[in-house]
């Protein structure tokens, strides 16, 4: 299986690995995937007063492409508003990393992860569970 240079780079030097405090009001946490599928991504965003994502963290259990997809995503969301972040498409991630067809689902999971994190953040702000 040949990995693209970008995937290898993210894999060797993942960006923004770590955790935020889930209880913090400015943090949104999304956890998607399942161990049974071999892919679990936890993505966290730190959103400021202006509704801009100022920082992000991730942890991933999964193959190289999954790790790279989530690492790339944390880079991309920084500086975006929540609405802008929601527009990120898995196809963009797949293209940037040159993922082969069999690995595209990793980028889909990453897209799911950011959406879940944003939803979690929104829920916290509204104080209502959806």
């Amino acid at each position: 299986m040949a990995y693209s240079d970008k995937v290898l780079d993210h894999y060797e030097h993942p960006r923004n690995v770590g955790v935020f405090d889930t209880k913090d009001h400015s943090i949104g946490t999304g956890m998607v995937g399942a161990p049974a599928c071999g892919d679990v991504m936890r993505l966290q965003i730190k959103v400021n007063e202006q509704g801009v994502i100022e920082d992000a963290r991730f942890k991933t259990y999964g193959c190289g492409s999954a790790i790279a997809s989530s690492s790339l995503l944390t880079e991309w969301v920084k500086g975006k508003t929540l609405d802008q972040a929601l527009l990120i498409k898995n196809s963009e991630i797949a293209e940037e990393l040159a993922l082969p067809p069999v690995k595209v689902h990793c980028s889909v999971l990453a897209e799911d992860a950011i959406k879940a994190a944003i939803k979690d953040y929104a829920t916290k702000q509204n104080g209502v569970a959806t």
């Binding site: 299986m1 955790v19 998607v32 071999g38 193959c63 889909v108």
Partner: protein
């Protein structure tokens, strides 16, 4: 020490230089290139002599009569010939076949093919250590069972089945017993004078011979009959037509001869190497051995590193050639069906690595591997959310996952 390090001997082996040298003498104009079936001239006679000598060498490893050896293109073909050949020949006697979920695809897919043709197949579950429980097998036998097919050594976890006990059982019921010995021949002793095995598949490239050649042992006393799957000339007593590839056959013969001569010393050395590999990381947290710890071939170590996914680990161990039970490394997204059949949870199947050492593995390579594995497993656990959750004491089975 050359990188990458090869630790995937169960996938294939390099041809032993001694084998390659022998093979070369049967290729060019200067060598014995004749067709072994050419009865009328010395070119044919010399090629035939070489093929027959190789037949003897293969037979000797398994203590069989050379007349009981049929050349094929490999163990996959031998499995097909044994299973389909026996099933079709004995179909009037019965239509029930028994095998196991952990068999090689060559056996499983042949059985599936027979199911589409009106045969009934029972796929037994192994015990969690990979071995077949004799009582379960006994309970599955029926009046119309004609064939039981169980492998000698499993390719993924390396466990060795009790062929003697199984053979005694099948013989007592007059049921044919086929054994896929591709991974076992030359690694664990096989004595067909003692074992009640009727059909045995052999592969050259798993034991330092060339790819593309194998054999099927077909018992003569009591006689086993097969319906040929390859027609065209009646070679190999009508069981498998096709010109014999002398160079390949000579290669297999020499490989088997060497295996017989060196099996004991090879195994002792491999056991030492494997133990050193296992000792290198068995003290790490959440590391599990897959398959029976003792009843396995010397060179196999199949290990799950919990909370780290197999393909990411293989990528991290780029200078080690190993294989994984992880779905990502197979074309489908399914984790190893063998590990699943053992009852391993999917995430441990996803987290598994298979190390298989061989004749050319060294201590230096093992030590290098251990160091890399420890570092990389730790690194990957640091970026794994599942490891975090484990450390926090969360039971992963209690979590509601949002899978897609």
């Amino acid at each position: 020490m050359k990188l990458p390090i090869y630790m995937d001997y169960s996938a294939t082996t390099p041809v032993d230089p001694r084998v390659a040298e022998r093979m070369c003498a049967y290729l060019t104009l200067e060598g014995d290139f004749g067709n072994p079936a050419s009865r009328s001239h010395a070119f044919g006679w010399r090629a035939e002599e070489a093929a027959e000598q190789a037949r003897q060498q293969v037979a000797e490893l398994i203590n069989a009569d050379p007349k009981e050896i049929v050349w094929t293109s490999g163990a996959t073909e031998s499995d097909n010939l044994a299973i389909k050949g026996a099933a079709y020949f004995y179909r009037k006697k019965g239509r029930h076949i028994i095998t196991c979920k952990t068999e090689h695809k060559a056996v499983l897919d042949s059985c599936r093919h027979l199911e589409r043709d009106g045969f009934e197949v029972t796929y037994l579950d192994p015990e969690p250590d990979g071995l077949i429980d004799l009582d379960r097998l006994r309970a599955a036998l029926r009046e119309d069972t004609i064939l039981v097919s169980l492998m000698h050594v499993n390719n993924e976890i390396g466990v060795i089945q009790d062929l003697e006990a199984i053979g005694d059982l099948t013989r007592s019921r007059n049921i044919l017993f086929h054994v896929d010995a591709a991974q076992g021949a030359g690694k664990a002793p096989i004595d067909l004078q003692r074992l009640n095995v009727d059909l045995l598949s052999l592969s050259a490239h798993k034991v330092y011979g060339p790819k593309g050649i194998g054999a099927l042992y077909v018992r003569r006393k009591p006689r086993v009959r097969l319906e040929a799957q390859m027609h065209g000339g009646g070679h190999e007593r009508g069981m498998r037509s096709g010109t014999l590839p002398t160079h390949q056959i000579v290669g297999m013969g020499e490989a088997f001869r060497l295996a017989r001569a060196e099996m004991a010393t090879d195994n002792e050395r491999l056991l030492g190497l494997r133990q050193r590999l296992w000792d290198g990381f068995k003290d790490m947290e959440q590391v599990f051995l897959n398959g029976h710890p003792e009843q396995r071939i010397a060179g196999n170590l199949n290990v799950s590193f919990a909370f780290v996914e197999g393909e990411s680990l293989i990528m991290a161990l780029r200078d080690l050639a190993v294989s994984s039970g992880s779905a990502c490394t197979s074309a489908s997204l399914e984790p190893s069906y063998v590990l699943r059949a053992l009852g391993r949870e999917d995430e441990l199947a996803h987290s598994s690595l298979r190390f298989t050492l061989g004749r050319f593995s060294t201590y230096e390579e093992v030590d290098y591997a251990v160091a890399r594995i420890r570092t990389q497993v730790e690194r990957l656990r640091d970026i794994s959310p599942l490891w975090d959750m484990y450390k926090e004491g969360i039971d992963l089975k209690s979590v509601h996952w949002i899978a897609h």
